[in-house]
């Protein structure tokens, strides 16, 4: 007869509000084989854990069931407590009566009855449970950072400074990301490039960092401590080892009128180019779609003028496989640019704003380039249509953000602050100009943030109008902005020379595809999901993968840098050990019964199943059976459900356990 202890948690009031926990504990005590049961306000607290440990000793328990929250929340906590009390930790299980019961039901009697049932069947699972030993796997102390914006740069530098090797992969020809595009940064108005470019140089010079620009993640295999990542190096058409970065190819390139992505299409670049003068690495790429040589085979000027002979039209994409132990994902954001609803997208457009059809309606990033000393206007605020200095500028916040009916309900977090900054930059550069801001709320939590916003309103003469804009249209060379002032209760029309939209922050294009390669989860907007909103904000649910920056949700620079350093710290924690213990919840094959059909191999999402040969003493092949690599197995149980001969089982979820649970109901 087993001696199981059942501990029912109130979770403050989270459970006890809808479940009669005393009754549940009492009913549990009556289950045959349960030697002890009780309820307690906070089982996860120190006194709660002590209660558990004491009970194990006093009642000589051989199995423990904690009826509380989800095992994702506290399974580790209670298994540790059980282990401290001398039990095998895998003989401690959790019955989820919070997420699966109290949080989703209202009727107290029915919820209590359900909680009792959950406890009853989980007791059976504990009874049939086996002692397991954790699996140890080696750790490759080399990290991969995906994305070379400020998040990726910060994470890479921190990990590299701690003495570990880092591979930094960036999709664009240069690192720097969006921060390199910004003019000045809130709330101190220091020049973005001045604080960014030294960090970029540090990355390039760091002996522990291998930098791959113009490269993308092709494939990710393996698991925590042991990832194999295939990186695609897109053909630059310039040999990085030969190029000296002299730039003569760019000056001689006959095709010079290509809109520069770095300047949001408002400056021009040649077909062979670096995105901006401070690019790292300072090695150009050829934009093959716009290059005369690639399109018609007639030109070759850059190859002719290149002294070191670095230009290589024949270059092909290459692939390398990088062994790493941890991955930091820092792929950043893009700005919402939809002017009409694109096919198949749940997100509506803003056709009524004339965005994309009226040239002097621009987005916030374009304004950054106009205000930047390195931008297409040399830092003068000149409007795109006719190059005139705008005297009335209307800024509109929350374009796309907080607009449920347009498909995005979240707040983009940075726009209130950067719009306030824009009004200041404008006021500093155009003294006789007037800035208007349409806003819903001014959200300025952050050190020095509200003071900054107040300064825009009180000292820099920006006129803030609380209300939204319904429509904009061109009349003559002006843009008529029709909106409302809800504080005064009137409709407002402003004739603007330039309109700047603070468009929503969205994840990068292809964020979902990368997540699928990495095996990490993402929300309906394609932002990556952290393992726990409060307590695990930088970890993914997939072990060994960490998040930094706006790929997880809209973030400003200080928050991004903090999160990047946090992700780096998590990587360092992982690298502090030579071997890694992981849960032994893995599948095992009963080789006696396995007929080698490999149905399991076909369904395994982790690629954990291999073919194993069984030979007799003479070395003759007897049969082939399945073998589960315990390091790779994700413990999902799909193979167990698939196996026609029932010869594969997941430890901790054996058929015996599952059947006993069903029978208990």
């Amino acid at each position: 007869m087993s001696r199981i202890g059942v501990f029912v948690c109130h979770c403050g009031e989270n459970i006890s509000r809808t479940v009669d926990v005393e009754q549940v504990a009492k009913a549990a005590g009556e289950i045959p084989g349960v030697a002890f049961s009780c309820d307690y306000k906070y089982m996860c607290s120190d006194p709660g854990q002590t209660l558990l440990k004491k009970a194990v000793a006093e009642h000589k328990l051989d199995g423990v069931l904690v009826a509380a929250c989800s095992p994702r929340m506290h399974e580790k906590t209670f298994r540790k407590a059980a282990e401290a009390a001398g039990l095998n930790p895998y003989l401690c299980e959790m019955a989820n009566i919070r997420e699966h019961c109290s949080w989703v039901h209202e009727d107290r009697d029915m919820a209590t009855a359900k909680a009792k049932d959950i406890v009853k069947l989980m007791v059976e699972r504990v009874r049939k449970g086996k002692s397991l030993a954790p699996i140890t796997v080696p750790v490759t102390k080399r990290a991969l950072v995906i994305g070379g914006g400020i998040a990726g740069i910060q994470a890479a530098l921190d990990i590299a400074d701690a003495g570990h090797k880092v591979v930094l992969v960036e999709r664009e020809p240069s690192i720097g990301g969006h921060m390199a595009q910004l003019s000045e940064t809130f709330p101190t108005l220091d020049c973005s490039q001045c604080i960014m470019t030294p960090k970029m140089v540090d990355v390039a010079n760091h002996p522990n960092i291998t930098l791959f620009t113009y490269s993308e993640i092709e494939k990710v295999d393996g698991y925590i401590g042991n990832f194999q990542v295939t990186v695609k190096h897109k053909a630059r058409s310039v040999d990085e080892s030969k190029c000296t970065g002299c730039g003569i190819c760019m000056t001689k390139c006959p095709k010079k009128k290509i809109p520069n992505e770095f300047d949001q299409g408002h400056g021009m670049r040649p077909a062979i180019y670096v995105p901006f003068p401070q690019a790292v690495p300072n090695t150009p790429v050829i934009d093959r779609e716009n290059c005369t040589m690639f399109q018609s085979g007639k030109c070759g000027v850059c190859a002719k003028v290149c002294g070191p002979g670095a230009v290589d039209y024949e270059q092909q994409d290459t692939f390398t496989v990088e062994d790493v132990g941890a991955i930091v994902v820092a792929t950043g954001f893009k700005l919402y640019t939809i002017d009409r609803k694109p096919e198949g997208s749940p997100i509506q457009g803003y056709g009524e704003f004339g965005y994309g059809t009226i040239p002097d309606i621009i987005d916030g990033m374009t304004f950054e380039r106009l205000a930047s000393a390195s931008g297409p206007t040399g830092g003068k605020i000149l409007r795109p249509s006719d190059g005139k200095e705008p005297k009335q500028v209307v800024f509109i916040q929350c374009v796309g953000s907080r607009a449920r009916e347009k498909g995005i309900s979240y707040c983009s977090k940075v726009c209130c602050m950067y719009t306030a900054k824009h009004t200041m930059l404008y006021h500093h550069k155009v003294h006789d100009g007037q800035a208007y801001v349409f806003f819903m709320d001014a959200r300025t939590p952050g050190k020095g943030y509200d003071e900054f916003w107040r300064r825009a309103v009180e000292e820099e003469e920006a006129v803030y109008i609380r209300g939204m804009v319904s429509r904009m249209y061109q009349r003559g060379d002006k843009i008529v902005v029709m909106g409302s002032d809800i504080q005064v209760g009137v409709q407002v029309e402003i004739e603007a020379d330039l309109v700047v939209l603070a468009t929503a922050v969205q994840p990068q294009d292809g964020a979902d595809l990368l997540a699928q390669k990495l095996g990490i989860s993402y929300d309906k907007y394609n932002f990556y999901s952290e393992a726990h909103a409060k307590l695990k904000p930088v970890e993914c649910a997939t072990a060994g993968i960490y998040l930094a920056g706006a790929c997880q949700g809209p973030k400003d620079i200080p928050d991004t840098v903090s999160q990047a350093s946090a992700a780096a710290a998590k990587v360092m924690t992982l690298f502090a050990k030579d071997k890694l213990e992981r849960d032994p919840v893995v599948a095992k094959v009963n080789e006696k019964y396995c007929v080698g059909c490999f149905a399991c191999k076909k369904v395994c999402a982790y690629g954990a199943i291999e073919e194993k040969e069984i030979r007799d003493r003479q070395g003759n092949l007897v049969k082939k059976v399945a073998y589960v690599n315990p390091g790779v197995c994700g413990g999902c149980g799909t193979c167990q459900a698939t196996c026609p001969s029932k010869s594969i089982e997941l430890d901790g979820y054996t058929d015996e356990q599952i059947m006993a649970m069903i029978e208990a109901l």
Binding site: G349, G351, E405, I465, R471, R475, E493, E495
Partner: protein, 317 residues
């Protein structure tokens, strides 16, 4: 109609206006459907949808009026075709609300003594022309293309709003009217006020508001170079057509304080808009005209701003 394919056929809810001040909308709708060989059968014994007054006074009443009409419509085969933008809005809103709110649905079903026909498809005439009859076929069916006619398509408030309810087109940036106009051979102008309010019901209580708002619409249509305005709402038609003369008298020269313009400077600098008469057409009048229906049977005689000079000028009469 392609042989073998089932003939399109609809039940029809004209609404009160179409039997009174907007009778030319009704006449032209019937004429158009006949010309297109599309069936149209009026719902027997229909009554008022409640329009704006009902839902301002009593929500249950307004929902019940529409629910009853919908259940009457169930008795006639085919999706329910609606021409009036307000009726369309009320019927769609009722279905939307009652689908979302079970308690209200039960109340309404007690009030109308029967089930609410929440799944009877309600279709606006524009939707039928553009999507069900189809733009390509519409273009093929045109006998007298509206060549050279510059039309300002005016959506007004109700046709596409609020988000998620009428499901006719993009709520703030639709294109269905433009699409239909192009299929008819006309030239839709790009203009600023196609989604603005004409003043609607204030025409009775505060006509001053209507004069102001409708003036802004007429004026921007003239600035955009339109010959006329196309509407899909009898109330918009009334405000823009019947009050046009009054608006001219009230405003005369273009005015720069059309709205509560507290920050802007001169609104209408540069262009000097004229005082042209702008005939107001229903979408069905223009479509029927393009299908070769005789102009005498489209109710042109009963509007105030005479469209005949324009149509003669464009050789469409």
């Amino acid at each position: 109609m392609t042989p073998g394919k089932k003939r399109l056929s609809y039940s029809y809810y004209p609404g009160c206006s179409l039997h009174a001040s907007g009778r030319e909308y009704d006449i032209s709708t019937r004429a158009l459907f006949k010309a297109l060989n599309v069936g149209l059968k009026e719902v027997p014994d229909w009554f008022c949808c409640g329009a704006t007054p009902a839902h301002n006074v009593d929500e249950l009443l307004s929902l019940s009026l529409c629910a009853k009409n919908l259940s009457l419509a169930e008795e006639v085969e085919g999706d329910l075709a609606v021409a009036c933008a307000a009726c369309f809005s009320r019927l769609k809103t009722t279905q939307h609300h009652l689908k979302e709110d079970d308690t209200k649905r039960k109340q309404v079903e007690v009030a109308i003594d029967g089930p609410a026909a929440l799944n009877k498809p309600v279709k606006h005439i524009l939707e039928i022309l553009a999507r069900e009859y189809g733009l390509a076929k519409l273009e093929e069916s045109v006998k007298k293309p509206l060549m050279g006619l510059k039309v300002a398509p005016y959506y007004g408030c109700l046709l596409t709003r609020p988000p998620g309810v009428p499901e006719l087109d993009d709520c703030e940036d639709p294109s269905i009217m433009e699409d239909v106009l192009r299929a008819l051979g006309a030239e839709p102008v790009k203009w600023s006020h196609r989604m603005e309010c004409c003043g609607a019901n204030f025409t009775l209580s505060r006509p001053g508001v209507v004069l102001k708002l409708s003036n802004a619409i007429l004026e921007s249509a003239r600035i955009a170079g339109a010959d006329c305005i196309m509407v899909a709402c009898p109330l918009c038609h009334g405000n823009l057509d019947i009050r046009q003369k009054e608006i001219k008298e009230a405003f005369g020269a273009p005015d720069s304080t059309l709205f509560g313009n507290i920050f802007g400077s001169e609104l209408h600098g540069g262009s000097a808009p004229d005082q042209r008469d702008l005939p107001i057409f229903y979408v069905t009048q223009l479509a029927a005209l393009a299908m070769g229906v005789a102009s005498e049977s489209l109710g042109f005689e009963s509007v105030i701003t005479d469209p005949k000079p324009l149509l003669r000028d464009k050789q469409l009469l």
